[in-house]
Every structure is written in C-alpha cells, then in structure tokens.
C-alpha cells in the first residue's frame, strides 16, 4: 500500500514541478531578433495538418516545401545560411493555428512561413499574421478571404475559388455546351467556398446552378438523395467538390441511379480516393489542377522536382496541385529572401522580404509555370486563369487532358 502511495505522490509532485517549470520556461523564451544573425540558419515556419481527416492531403503541401528546402540547401542555402523548417501541426484546429502564428512570430522568430492547406484554420490565422507581420505563403486554401484578410502579409500560390470557378465555367461552356450545372459539395470550408464561387460566376452571366447539394465528406457514405436531386433538376454537368472517397460515393450513387453526366472538380477529384472507391466510374472525370505528375514533365523545374520528390518519399505526390504549389510557393519565398539585403533586424527583414515579393521578385520558373512577376502590391494571388492544367482520369490514373 505505501509503495503505491509513494508512487502516486511522486507522480503528483513531479507534475507540480513540471507545471512550475513550464510556467517559468514559457516566460523566459522571449523573442529576440538574434535568431537571424548570419551563420545561424534561416528559420521558415511550416504550418501543416499532421492529424485530422485531411492529413493525407495536407501532407503533400509539406512535402513539396521540404523538397524546396532540400534543393536550396544543396546549393548552399540562402546568403550562405541553411534554411531550417519549424514545423507545427495545427490539428485542423483554428485556435491552435492562431497560437502557431504567434509562436512563429515571437517565440521561434521566423523570417517567413508557408502553409494554409485547411481553409478554416487559414481564415483564423490570416488576421493574426497581419498582427505578427511576417510573410506567409498560402499554398492551397481556396477561400478567397484567406489571402485577402491577411494582406499585405499573405501571398497565395493557390487555386482561388473564384478564379477556379471562372476557369471551370469557361471549360464547361466550351466542351459541354451547357450552363445547367449542379454543384455537389462537401460541407466544409473547401466545398462551401467552391459552391459560393461557382454560384457567383453563374450569377455574373445571369444564371443559377440547377441544384446545390451538400454532404459530409467524413461521415456520409450514401449520396443517393443528393444525386437524385441533381438528376431531377435536369443537371447536365456536376461541379463536384468533395474530397477523395466522398466524391467516389457520389459516383457510386450515380451508378445506382443509372445516370451519367460529365464531372468537373478540383483537388478533391484529383485525390486517389476517387479512383479507389469509384474504380471504373472515375474514368473520364475531370480534375482542375496546376500540375500533373503522372505524365512526363515537359518543364525542367517540374522534372527536377518530381525526381527529388520520388527519391525522398518513394512515390509521386498524391495531391499534385498542393505539392506543386507548396514547392513553388516556398521557392518564391526563398528567391525573395535571396534578393533581399538581410540586416539581422527581424522586423525590418520581414518587411523587406515582403516588399521584394511584391515588387522585386523577378522572374521565377517553377513547376506550375513561368512567372514574370508573380505578385504585385494589389494582387497577391500568383495563379490566374491561365495557370491551370485540366487533368482527367484515364485507365486508373490522372493524366493531363487533351481538353484544356
């Protein structure tokens, strides 16, 4: 009895001590500007979702950034200093995301950061980034506000839902000759943002979507109701914005109802979950991307990227766009840093890097495309209607489509 008792007491005492130590520790680590003196590494924050139901897609962003870091360090780093990633898991929790931004801004003292896969977290982080004042590259979140509410410090290398919708509408008009679009979307920020954008794009033409249906990507397995509503409304194309398996279940529901129409989606449709669940039903469905790694890479930076990626991770990216955007976003940030005079004063340096990004980034040749001037003072979205690469599922693989 006494042995167990003293174990308990030790545990309790140890925990109490830990509390005091933590409290003291946390207070002592004041943010100094010293972290960026020369021959110390350059710290770049990496905000990623390692846990949560989006982790399998989010990881592509992180992996793309890692390749960029490896390549830069192989060439000697920036200003002769190695680039070091400070990685934090947001857990898909906005509260945590906010704390991470403050962590980057003050405790770790990063020069810049990359992240923003999950829209809800990014939306929460953006105003805080504006308070902390360091450049942040948003590499996937499609919600327009995620970049806009953090300007001028946030920079988007991502498929802005509004721009994507415009591109998609153009594509649908051109190749399917119809405006009768049903929007089926997952009920998170990603799906809702896309639905709002497509609705807006149609409204600009004086039209409306014939049906708008939502589903829960994680929990719903049966999409009969949603698909049936679209069918009964006379839809001729479906704008599908679930993630992976969710989209697969939509395909299955269509199969059960014996109804087949063209499907256009984006990242969610590029995910292999679509093919795993839908199998041959996925044939001929479209996914808007900014890159495609199932085909031979025509662009040299893309080929080099793919080679390094496969070497490091043993497979090609599973979400092409995020990997490419993470890489290009990070590289642009690094290019800006390289072109900036670093004084050692963190506040000034962050401001300077931001200015470089806006005015003096210069030419950048990336995985996605060549940019003359990716960003301007008024435009922080590097990807426009001409940066897209329409992909299509063919024989179980996502390849570049003939139709663009």
């Amino acid at each position: 009895m006494s042995k167990r008792y003293s174990l308990k007491v030790w545990c309790a005492a140890w925990m109490a001590v830990m509390v005091l130590v933590l409290a003291g520790c946390g207070g002592n680590k004041a943010a100094s500007g010293d972290g960026n003196k020369s021959d110390k590494p350059i710290l770049i924050g990496m905000s990623t979702e390692a846990t949560g139901d989006n982790a399998m897609n989010s990881i592509n962003l992180y992996q793309g950034v890692q390749i960029a870091v490896d390549q830069i360090n192989a060439k000697g780093g920036l200003h002769g200093r190695t680039v070091e990633l400070v990685v934090r898991d947001t857990e898909q929790n906005p509260t945590r995301g906010i704390s991470i931004i403050r962590d980057f801004g003050q405790k770790e003292g990063v020069l810049g950061a990359v992240g923003g896969f999950y829209s809800t977290v990014m939306l929460a982080q953006s105003p805080i980034i504006m308070e902390e004042k360091f450049p942040f590259v948003v590499a996937t979140s499609n919600v327009p506000a995620s970049v806009e509410s953090g300007m001028p410090w946030t920079f988007g290398v991502r498929m802005n839902a509004n721009i994507t919708a415009q591109y998609a509408l153009q594509f649908i008009n051109k190749y399917f000759a119809t405006d009768k679009i049903a929007i089926l979307h997952e009920n998170g920020g990603y799906g809702k943002g896309a639905a709002a954008a497509m609705t807006k794009a149609l409204e600009e033409k004086g039209l409306k979507p014939v049906a708008v249906e939502s589903f829960d990507n994680a929990k719903d397995k049966d999409m009969t109701a949603q698909v049936n509503h679209a069918k009964e409304a006379g839809a001729e194309v479906i704008y599908l914005f679930g993630q992976g398996a969710g989209n697969g279940y939509v395909l299955q529901a269509m199969d059960k109802l014996g109804w087949k129409v063209p499907i256009v989606g984006e990242n969610g449709m590029a995910n292999k979950g679509v093919q795993e669940v839908g199998q041959q039903l996925a044939e001929g469905t479209y996914a808007i991307q900014t890159a495609n790694f199932n085909v031979d890479q025509t662009r040299e930076p893309a080929a080099a990227f793919l080679k390094d990626f496969t070497a490091k991770f043993g497979h090609i990216p599973t979400t092409f766009a995020s990997a490419a955007q993470g890489y290009d976003g990070a590289m642009m940030l690094f290019q800006a840093i390289e072109r900036t005079e670093l004084t050692g004063n963190l506040k000034k340096d962050r401001e300077a890097v931001k200015n470089t990004l806006e005015t003096n980034l210069g030419q950048y040749s990336g995985v996605i495309k060549d940019w003359d001037q990716a960003f301007t003072k008024d435009n922080h979205d590097a990807i426009d209607v001409h940066s897209y690469l329409m992909s299509v599922w063919k024989d179980g693989k996502l390849v570049v489509s003939d139709k663009q």
């Binding site: 008792y5 174990l7 308990k8 007491v9 545990c11 309790a12 005492a13 925990m15 109490a16 830990m18 509390v19 933590l22 409290a23 520790c25 946390g26 207070g27 004041a30 943010a31 390692a50 846990t51 990685v87 934090r88 898991d89 857990e91 898909q92 929790n93 906005p94 509260t95 945590r96 906010i98 704390s99 403050r102 962590d103 801004g105 003050q106 405790k107 829209s119 809800t120 977290v121 939306l123 929460a124 105003p127 308070e131 919600v143 506000a145 509410s149 009920n187 998170g188 920020g189 809702k192 943002g193």
Partner: protein
C-alpha cells in the same frame, strides 16, 4: 484537537503564496510578450469553463462530455449579436450567457433523470448536436468558416486589447473560483455532494437530486458560455472546429488532472494542458500522449494532482488546509429545542403511527401480508423477527421508499403517503442497515446536511456568501455541534466521515437523521457492529430522545438490548405480524421462539 502551530503557519504561507501568485498573474499583462500572453489568456478561459465543470463533475458527480457545446452556445450567440445586431460586448455577452443557460437547462432535464452511463452518453449526444448545428446552420453560424470580425469590447471610449482582455479574463477566473468556494461552503454544495454519493440517503433527509444537480448544470453552463464569449471577442474569429467532441473531452481531462472537486484543480489542469503542446513540440503522436496522460491520471492519480498532494501533505506532515476549530459547542443548551415543537401544542392522537393491512410484494414474492401495527407516541417500538421476515421492507414502506399495494398508513392521525423525500418533510427520519454516511463530507458537514431542507438557503446568498449567509452557516454549525454532543461524539469533527470507526458511523448517522427535526425516528439495526460500551451509549441516547417527545421505531437483533430498551415489541415472520406487546412476555411466547428457532427445538424444549 486544536490547530497546531505547523498548521497555522502552513495555512498562512499558503494564503500569502496564493496572493503572490495572483499578483504575478496580473502583472503578466504588462511583462509578458504577446505569445506568452496568448497562452495565459487561453489558460484563463479554460479555468473559467473548468471551474464550472468542476462543480458539475466534482460536486455533483455528473460527468458531462459535451460542455464544448455550451461554450460554443455562448461564443456564437455573443458573436452573432455583436456582428449582426451591433450590440456592444456587455449586452451580447449577457445574451451569450442566457443562451448557454437555456441550452444547459435543456440538457439537464433528461440527463438528470437518466443517471449512470446514460448521463454521459446523453451529454455526448448533445455536444455532437451542437457541433452539427454549428456546421450546418450557416445562416446563423457562418457554417464551417465560422464568424469573423468579432469586435473587441469597449468601455466608455476605451477599446480593450489583448492585455486588458487578459486582465478581464483573469478577474473573471478568480471570481469563478470564489464562487466555487462559496458553493462548497454552503448547503448547496453539501447537497450536491450528498446526492452524488448516496442518492437514497440524501432523499431520506429530504434532499431530492433534481435541484442541486440542476444548479450544478446551470452554473457550469453559465461559466462555459461566459468563457466562450470572452474567447470569441478576444480572438475575433470562431469556427466549429474548436467545439467538437475532443474539446469536451479536454475539459473533462483538465478537471480530473487537477483533481475532481478540488478548488485549485482547474488551474493546474489548464496550465498543463495548455503548456504541454508548446513545450513538447512533438510532431507525431501528440494526441496519443494526451490519451495516455488521461489514462494515467485515471489509473494512478484518481484524485488528480491537487487531491494527491493534499493527501500527501496531510499524511506526511499532518498539514491540513482546513482550520480545526474547537470541537465543542459553547455552553449547555436545552436539547429539547433541537426537535420539532409544533406537536407539543394541541392534543395529538396517542398513536404516532398507525398501519392497517399493509401488503407489499415483489414480483411473485409477498414480503408483507396484512401488516397492522399501532405505534404509540413517545415510545420505543421494536420490530423483531428472523431474517427475511420483512422488517426492513416495513421500514421502507413507512419511510416511503416502497409503495404498498394495499393498506393505509397514518402519521399523527393524518394519512401518510409519498416518496422518501416528501415523507422526510412530514417528520419521519431514518437510518439504514448499512452505513450511508457521505464519505467526502466531514463529520460535522454530514450532520449539517440534515438541516438543508429546513434551512432553505437561498442560491444567491450562497453564491455571494453574504454576511447573512455566513451567520446562518454558523448557526447550522452550532446546531450540528450540539447534536454531536447529544449523541456523545468525542472525536475530530472536521475529519472526513470515511475515517470514522464503524460504531461512530452509526451514531453520527443518527445525529444526521435527528438534524431534520423529526417526530418519528426509524432505526434499522442501529446496534449492529457496535461494542458493548457503544450499545450502552445508544441505549442512553434513545431514552433521552424519548424524553424529548420523539417516537422511535427500531429493528434489532440484539435481544437483550431490545428487551431493555423497548416499550413495545412487534414480531414479524414471513411478512406477517405474529404478535405485538410487552417485550418480556412476547419474547418468551412459544410462537415467537418457534419463528426464530424452528419447530423441532420447541418440541425438544417442551419435552424437557
């Protein structure tokens, strides 16, 4: 037993330590950077919500795993009111609290009725419902992208910033702690703990579980809503991701990590929970670590950190946080004043209790058959009989725990019926066959719970611990002391009742029953497990009580005790009354002996 010097010094230094800590916490508003301040602010939010959880989990014993939903209710209501209607913070915060109170009340009703594991499952379901509503009802909640641009509070011309919000949160957190302290030191806190530990014993004192448990729910809902509101207006952004099932689990974890029911528990728990991810910077397996901590706390530290430390300090050094006042009440007083006076006026019928034709069966088993007994006022009436005769069942019927299928009962000439708790209000008190003391309360507090119903402590007075409330508490304590004197309890009155030796437990239970100012006292085997000296004490007590006008009904197996002490004896066998009358003559009646010993013995005896 008086306060030792060691104890006094310990308490003084704990008090000063606490004041210094409070000063340090407040000063952080100016000395800490925004990163650290953000963390401290988050801790403050958790403390506010978890003080409420602590009252619900620790005092009431209701483990709610859905309180993130109540935080969401407060946060979203307030955010909506201020972004859509432009209300200022103070009004929208009020709205937020109101809505969380309403939703908390809605949750409380089925939950309290259910009890057990159902309770936790229902709270989980409610938490999930709220989470779903936040995601789906996007007209109001903004859907998965939440509500942004929530304005910070303004007071006069001054706009709050992170620093001043932190001070506000710290002040509210301290206020919440004071509230919890006041509740614990009042009849409400005692009722909550009593109901949690032993619902039936509490009911026998007239305490029904709904009121105290509902109050626990209401307080925890208000505090959770308040915490949510403060959070929303400081961070300017809220979304459903913050208010899911895992968030509710975290609130529970903070409470049990700190120590369920311990005043400072939420602080320790919140500090660890907030600082741990910052310090660890683990990339993988972080949730597994939380799960492991939760499991380890349940397994090795069931009392949490504060609870274990408290026990250790007490065991090792004899240090107690509670002051040990003098144990005797001042001066002699007329003990007769302790009991109900109203029956002294006007003639009451000679019979205190009358039962006619009571029938009670359980399924196919008939426990009581046509039982008719008359119990005269101001006497000691014993029920005897072999095991299984139905004695306890009869007591249960009288006290309202069971309802007879047939038969009538009268108390002082008026018809008697009702549940255990309502019967208590009519002047019937009882003890039980097995000790049902409230182990978490002290000896003194146990007796004080008996006075809950009569004392009618107001909720507001209890929360604020007004001077009137303090006076009433002192009166209750005084009365409890006198009751303990009456039963002859000599030991430490401020120790937890779980430490009492068995004989003392039975006596303290009687004192507790007497605290309800009964006119009839039902005792179920009070002498069981007592030493001879203790039985003598019990005898003297019973004689004294009868002298004050009490009527006592007693179940016992100690035959010599029964013979010495009783005025009348009723013998039961197989649910039927075999005889009622004078103890000496009844106990030598052959029918009675036969009931106890069986036919052959009687025959053998007759042959001799």
């Amino acid at each position: 037993m008086n306060d030792t010097w060691k104890n006094i010094i310990f308490r003084r230094s704990a008090l000063w330590g606490g004041l210094l800590a409070a000063a340090a916490i407040a000063s952080a508003s100016w000395t800490a950077d925004a990163y650290m301040l953000n963390l401290l602010f988050t801790i403050g939010i958790y403390v506010i919500a978890c003080v409420g959880m602590n009252i619900l989990v620790g005092y009431c014993g209701i483990v709610s795993i859905g309180h993130a939903g109540l935080m969401a209710a407060g946060a979203y209501t307030s955010a909506y009111a201020s972004t859509h209607y432009g209300l200022n913070f103070w009004l929208s915060a009020l709205a937020g609290i109101a809505v969380s109170l309403i939703i908390g009340s809605l949750i409380a009703i089925p939950t309290i009725k259910a009890g057990g594991v159902y309770l936790s499952m229902i709270t989980i379901a409610f938490g999930v419902v709220v989470h779903e509503a936040l995601i789906r009802w996007d007209g109001v909640t903004g859907g998965p992208l939440g509500i942004s641009g929530i304005p910070k509070p303004k007071l006069g011309g001054y706009a709050f910033d992170l620093q001043s919000m932190y001070l506000l949160v710290a002040a509210v957190a301290i206020g919440a702690l004071v509230l919890a302290y006041n509740i614990r030191r009042s009849a409400w806190g005692r009722s909550m703990i009593a109901t949690k530990e032993n619902e039936i014993a509490a009911a026998s004192l007239g305490i029904r579980k709904f009121k105290p448990q509902y109050v626990g729910f209401a307080v925890s809902a208000v505090l959770a809503g308040l915490a949510g509101t403060l959070y929303a207006h400081t961070n300017s952004f809220i979304s459903p991701d913050t208010y899911h099932f895992q968030a509710s689990v975290q609130l529970v974890l903070i409470v049990i990590l700190g120590g369920s029911g311990r005043l400072l528990g939420p602080i320790i728990g919140a500090v660890i929970l907030v600082f741990l991810p910052e310090v660890l910077e683990m990339e993988k397996l972080r949730m597994a670590l939380y799960g492991t901590i939760m499991f380890a706390v349940l397994y090795f530290l069931p009392k949490g950190i504060m609870g274990t430390m408290n026990d250790w300090l007490e065991a090792r050094f004899g240090l107690k946080l509670r002051s040990q006042e003098a144990d005797r009440s001042g001066g002699k007083a007329d003990h007769g004043l302790l009991f109900a006076n109203d029956r002294k006026k006007g003639g009451f019928p000679a019979a205190a209790l009358r039962l006619e034709g009571i029938n009670k069966s359980f399924g196919g088993l008939q426990a009581l058959k046509e039982v008719s007994v008359e119990i005269k006022a101001g006497t000691i009436h014993s029920l005897v009989g072999p095991n299984g005769a139905g004695k306890t069942t009869l007591l249960n019927v009288i006290s309202g725990l069971y309802t007879p299928e047939q038969g009538a009962m009268e108390l002082h000439g008026a018809s008697l019926s009702g549940s255990l708790s309502s019967v208590s209000g009519l002047g019937i008190a009882r003890t039980f066959q097995h000790s049902r003391l409230f182990k978490e309360l002290t000896v003194l507090e146990n007796v004080m719970t008996g006075m809950t119903v009569k004392a009618r402590t107001g909720l507001g007075a209890a929360f604020l611990r007004t001077p009137g409330q303090r006076r009433r508490e002192a009166e209750l304590q005084e009365k409890a002391h006198r009751l303990l004197d009456l039963i002859g309890y000599d030991g430490n009155r401020h120790m937890s009742a779980s430490q009492l030796p068995y004989g003392h437990q039975r006596m303290v239970e009687i004192a507790r029953a007497l605290a309800t100012e009964p006119s009839v006292l039902l005792l179920d085997e009070p002498a069981a497990g007592m030493t001879a000296a203790e039985i003598k004490q019990l005898e003297e007590l019973l004689q004294r009580l009868v002298g004050y006008g009490l009527t006592i009904v007693l179940i016992e197996h100690h035959m010599d005790f029964v013979q010495r002490v009783s005025d009348t004896v009723t013998v039961l066998d197989f649910g039927k009354v075999i005889g009622t009358g004078n103890p000496a003559q009844l106990l030598s009646d052959p029918r009675v002996i036969q009931a106890y010993l069986g036919k052959e013995e009687v025959a053998a005896d007759a042959e001799r």
